[in-house]
């Protein structure tokens, strides 16, 4: 479990990092928290020509910035920071809440938001939450910066639309709906999810729900929204029948894998069950 040989580059600025990525013509890899990358190097599942270590770029990539209703979180912001940041707990409480479901303390001290989104693990918590909250990915390449809506970011299992020469610099979040609920089940404590469900929305004074989004993790080759389920509940008051219908509608998007964590059949069985439970809890005022 020793990596194949690689060059090591530690740029002093984001511009240098992007330059280095460009010079290696897609053969280099960004090293952030290393919690996914280093094991893959050890197993030789990845053999980049160079590692571009961005851990010295805290100034440019490690900030949390607020502008109006938007919150921009730098790619190098670590899980542990998200978990403890007063700004995050006020503006994006869901993002702070799910950190406790990720790995262990050591992983959370090193792992970064940008690394998690770039890793695009179909079971990962960060991608799922970014999707539920409608975030945008800010990426920079030699041609400049672009903004990618998260709905268009994931392409499959561990795959996304980032170019190999691009650096993910930040995630930008719009104002979060006032209410959210998260559920996850793994095969052991804090294991990768065999199913995770997020529902967010805002309930008006009239008891009707708006900005409803429901997202599923571990069910498809990428985190997915369940738009039909959300549409069923948008603008509605939620009763048991509405919730049950939405739960069944969530199955429309499900295309689960068969793997060591669970069979496809079992995952398909769990989707409406847990969507129903999450929505029921959310309606009952049990957030997060």
């Amino acid at each position: 479990m020793k990596p194949a040989p690689f060059d090591y580059i530690r740029p002093a600025t984001v511009a240098q990092a992007v330059d280095a990525l460009d010079q290696h013509a897609g053969m280099a890899r960004v090293l952030a928290g290393g919690q996914s990358l280093v094991p893959m190097l050890g197993m030789r599942l990845m053999r980049p020509s160079a590692l571009i270590d961005i851990n010295g770029l805290e100034d440019e990539l490690g900030r949390i910035e607020c502008s109006g209703s938007e919150t921009t979180v730098g790619a190098l912001v670590r899980y542990a920071t998200l978990e403890r940041s007063p700004v995050i707990s006020e503006r994006l409480p869901l993002l702070a809440h799910v950190v406790r479901y990720i790995g262990d303390r050591q992983v959370r001290n090193r792992g970064t938001l940008g690394g998690a989104v770039a890793q695009s693990d179909p079971t990962g918590e960060m991608g799922l939450v970014c999707l539920a909250l409608g975030a945008s990915v800010l990426a920079r390449g030699s041609g400049g910066e672009r903004t990618i809506p998260i709905e268009q970011f994931f392409e499959g299992s561990y795959a996304n639309v980032l170019e190999p020469e691009e650096l993910l610099v930040a995630l930008r979040f719009p104002l979060a709906p006032s209410r959210c609920r998260f559920f996850e089940r793994g095969r052991k404590h804090n294991d990768f999810a065999l199913i995770s469900v997020v529902a967010v929305g805002s309930e008006d004074a009239d008891g009707r729900w708006h900005d409803v989004r429901i997202a599923l993790g571990g069910i498809n080759d990428r985190p997915v929204l369940a738009p039909a389920a959300a549409a069923r509940l948008e603008g509605a008051r939620w009763d048991a029948a509405a919730i049950e219908e939405a739960a069944q509608l969530a199955l429309e998007v499900a295309d689960p894998p068969d793997d060591v964590r669970a069979s496809a059949d079992y995952r398909r069985h769990l989707v409406p069950v847990h969507v129903r439970r999450v929505l029921t809890d959310l309606a009952a005022g049990e957030d997060r």
Partner: protein, 797 residues
């Protein structure tokens, strides 16, 4: 502790003597980061080995081209199969399967590889990274052959035969055992329950993987091997055989070992390879197994299929039990092979006189199976205890009542069971009553199964069991061809500082033998516990013993420690008496660091003075030999049987199959506990492994490709502290009549109950649905599937 009183030795009053919660001697260094594991041994000029492994479950090796790899800068030597065949013998089996022909197990595959991960080539280079680079450059041309991964499928007539030179099928051997007239009793029985039970393939995960550092001094003809092992003296024997050397040329040193669990019993291919390289290169060679290798190249365990049957009268009295089971051996026979104890304890703690058990050993294209904490006992316990519950339902009795009704009583013991085991003594029912009371079984029964407001159904499951600890005798082992004895050996040597050096071939791998051994000596001699220094695991310094496995260390070592302690003590007292100018030793006793005169308590003589006198031979009685040292070897008269019971309370979500273990209560008896704190630690640790195997661990091979699909820490679900239910432990302490001090072994018992207790509890919760689990692990998905099946059955019937 229970009501049972222990007849304690007078010397048990000693601080840190037998029966005390002495602090672990090992912890001082381990907690300070001063442990010395094999990878900490870092000789100058050391080279590093990497091993190229077969990626297929079964393949012919057509050609190996090492040319590109040999040219890589830093590469020092590459060995291929032919080198190994020329230079070494196949690895020997320490605990053979009776009636089985040998399956040649060379350190590198010859022509055909029979499991994924089998070593094909080995490379030594100046760093491990370079060695791994070189392995990638070696071109191996494989011809993949048809494989078989299913244990039962391997015995079908159309299965490819994996060792055609030796066998005509994949059945290595069949070992029958029985007593009485089981078939007649079955025919007379009013009720017969039977089923097939599948036990999962799992592995132990010691924090320290396997590791070796081999050094050869040609001028001295001395091969020094630092090795992470439970049995340095057996490793020395096996290395001598494989390397065609004499034992005197080999010194094996096991320093601190980071866990063994039965996996580190004997020689593996990498050990032979590292030694061959070291001898050729005349430089130290180090190999530390990585976790990916561990999952494929260190022995797996437990996988077996049990066809269990119980016959009983209409009112639930058990008349007979039979169990025909097939253990999966994997592709080759590791030194301890597949588990043998499912035979010996298949009838458990019940009064069964008529029984038949048959073990079949099947060869498959998977990693070799080896010993693992429990060695067949958790496996068969699951099958039997699941059926006991089923029998209870069939005859309309509570499972508790049925167990009470059939359990052996103290007056039935000693009792020879149909599997051949001789139960020494014990109050089995007392352990059951302890857990039943602790868990409030009657209260749970009255409260009913629910459902609770959240929809969950509540169930309670019981299991009772025995554990064979130690071996019956050297004669018993000889009949089975075992290459080791049933005894332990220890040397005590006094030093001039007034302390005692204790030498043992039993290394330190977490089982706390250093502490427990010193407690026994402190008790018998009367010397301060802290004045005893344990030197463990070096074949160059310790008496030739058996080793640490089968919960046998204390069973046998207690006797050796006692005898050696008495001899050393008596001689020290003779010398002290002479120096105190007394006639004889009457009344003299060692007390901490002095020998006290009973007639004049103020008058004493320092142990350091007595020991020094002996060591230099000056000032000792006329006719007394100089020196102060004793070696003793001790074989207990029989194996001692530990026993216990457990209860699990679960709350099952019938919609998802998910369940919570709300309580887990276990009681057990290990006779006289040398150190109750250590006993507790052993039971807790074994329980954790038991929960893993019961709930989540499951090495899975893809039926199409034959490849291991979950051989990483990412996909192999070993529980963490957060996954293990809180455990409530209770003890009884019935001294064993067959061991010194009445001890029973305690290393493995915790692995036995989780599978049976939890499965019984889940089935109890879902009894209304008619769910009967027959396979481990008990995962939520498996419970959900069983529910689906039960519902489908009731719809169609």
């Amino acid at each position: 502790m229970s009501e049972t009183t222990i007849e304690r030795d007078r010397t048990a009053q000693r601080p840190n003597g037998i029966g005390a919660d002495a602090p672990r001697k090992e912890d001082d260094r381990l907690l300070r980061g001063d442990g010395r594991f094999t990878d900490d041994v870092d000789p100058a000029r050391a080279l590093h080995m990497a091993v190229g492994r077969c990626p297929f479950p079964h393949a012919r090796i057509l050609a190996v081209d090492v040319s590109a790899a040999s040219e890589l800068e830093g590469v020092r030597q590459i060995l291929v199969g032919a080198d190994v065949a020329r230079r070494s013998e196949p690895i020997s089996v320490l605990r053979p399967v009776p009636g089985a022909p040998p399956l040649p197990f060379y350190a590198l595959a010859q022509d055909v590889a029979v499991f994924e991960g089998q070593p094909i080539v080995s490379v030594v280079a100046t760093s491990r990274a370079i060695a791994e680079d070189a392995v990638e450059l070696i071109e191996i041309d494989y011809d993949p052959l048809p494989h078989v991964s299913d244990t039962i499928g391997a015995l079908e007539p159309d299965a490819p035969v994996l060792h055609p030179g030796v066998l005509s099928s994949n059945l290595l051997a069949t070992n029958p055992q029985g007593a009485g007239e089981p078939e007649e009793r079955m025919a007379q029985a009013d009720v017969v329950v039977e089923d097939r039970f599948h036990i999962n393939r799992v592995t132990g995960l010691p924090m320290e993987t396997r590791a070796i550092v081999a050094q050869w001094r040609p001028g001295a003809r001395e091969l020094t091997v630092h090795h992470s092992t439970q049995v340095p003296h057996l490793v020395r024997k096996q290395l001598a055989e494989s390397l065609r050397m004499v034992e005197g040329e080999i010194r094996v040193i096991a320093g601190d070992v980071g866990g063994g669990f039965g996996l580190k019993l004997g020689v593996y291919p990498e050990d032979v390879l590292a030694c061959l390289h070291a001898i050729d290169l005349r430089q130290p060679v180090k190999w530390v197994e990585d976790r990916l290798e561990h999952f494929r190249a260190t022995t797996h365990a437990r996988e077996s299929v049990h066809d269990f049957r119980i016959g009983a009268t209409a009112d639930g009295r058990i008349l007979a039990m039979t169990n025909t089971y097939t253990t999966d051996l994997g592709g080759l026979n590791s030194p301890f092979g597949s588990a043998q104890l499912s035979t010996i304890v298949f009838t458990g703690p019940y009064k069964v006189e008529d029984g038949y058990v048959e073990r079949r050993v099947a060869i498959t294209n998977k990693t070799p199976i080896g010993a693992y904490r429990g060695y067949g006992q958790p496996e068969v316990n699951f099958a039997r205890e699941r059926l006991i519950d089923r029998l209870a339902r069939r005859v309309g009795k509570d499972p508790l009542e049925l167990r009470r009704q059939n359990m052996l009583r103290p007056e039935d013991l000693p009792f020879r069971n149909p599997g051949g085991g001789l139960y020494d003594s014990g109050d089995y029912l007392a352990t059951l009553e302890l857990v039943v009371d602790a868990v409030d079984y009657d209260g749970l029964r009255r409260a009913g199964r629910g459902p609770r407001p959240d929809g969950r159904l509540v169930g309670v499951g019981l299991t009772s069991f025995v554990e064979r600890t130690g071996y019956a005798s050297a004669k018993f082992l000889a009949n089975r061809g075992s290459q080791f004895g049933a005894h332990e050996s220890v040397t005590l040597r006094a030093n001039r500082s007034g302390g005692i050096d204790l030498y043992t071939g039993t290394p330190t791998f977490g089982q706390s033998s250093e502490t427990a051994f010193a407690q026994v000596c402190a008790s018998v001699i009367g010397i301060d516990f802290h004045a005893i220094r344990v030197h463990a695991g070096d074949t160059g310094a310790t008496p030739l013993n058996t080793g640490a496995f089968a919960s046998r260390t204390m069973i046998a070592a207690a006797g050796a420690l006692k005898q050696a302690s008495e001899r050393l003590r008596d001689k020290a007292l003779r010398i002290a008496a002479w120096r105190l100018e007394r006639d004889g030793v009457e009344g003299l006793a060692i007390d901490g660091d002095v020998v006290r005169d009973p007639d004049d308590p103020g008058r004493s003589i320092a142990l350091a003075e007595v020991f020094t006198a002996a060591i230099i031979g000056q000032g000792i009685p006329i006719g007394e030999e100089p020196g102060l040292e004793a070696t003793a070897h001790f074989e207990p008269e029989e194996a001692a049987y530990a026993f216990g019971s457990a209860a699990a309370v679960v709350a099952v979500d019938p919609e998802t199959g998910d369940f919570a273990i709300e309580r887990f209560v276990m009681s057990h008896d290990c006779g006289v506990a040398v150190n109750p704190l250590l006993v507790e630690g052993q039971v807790q640790g074994a329980l954790a492994q038991g929960f893993g195997a019961a709930l989540s661990e499951d090495l899975t091979y893809d039926p199409d490709t034959g490849q291991l699909v979950n051989g990483t820490m990412l996909d192999y679900f070993v529980p963490t502290a957060a996954d293990i239910p809180e455990v409530e432990l209770h003890h009884t302490a019935v001294p064993s009549p067959v061991t010194t001090f009445g001890v029973r072994g305690v290393g493995e018992i915790g692995t036995i109950p989780p599978g049976a207790a939890i499965a019984n509890a889940v089935c109890d919760a879902l009894a209304g649905e008619g769910v009967e689990l027959t396979a481990l692990p008990v995962t939520p998905e498996r419970v959900w599937r069983a529910l689906q099946q039960a519902r489908n059955r009731s719809e169609t019937s």
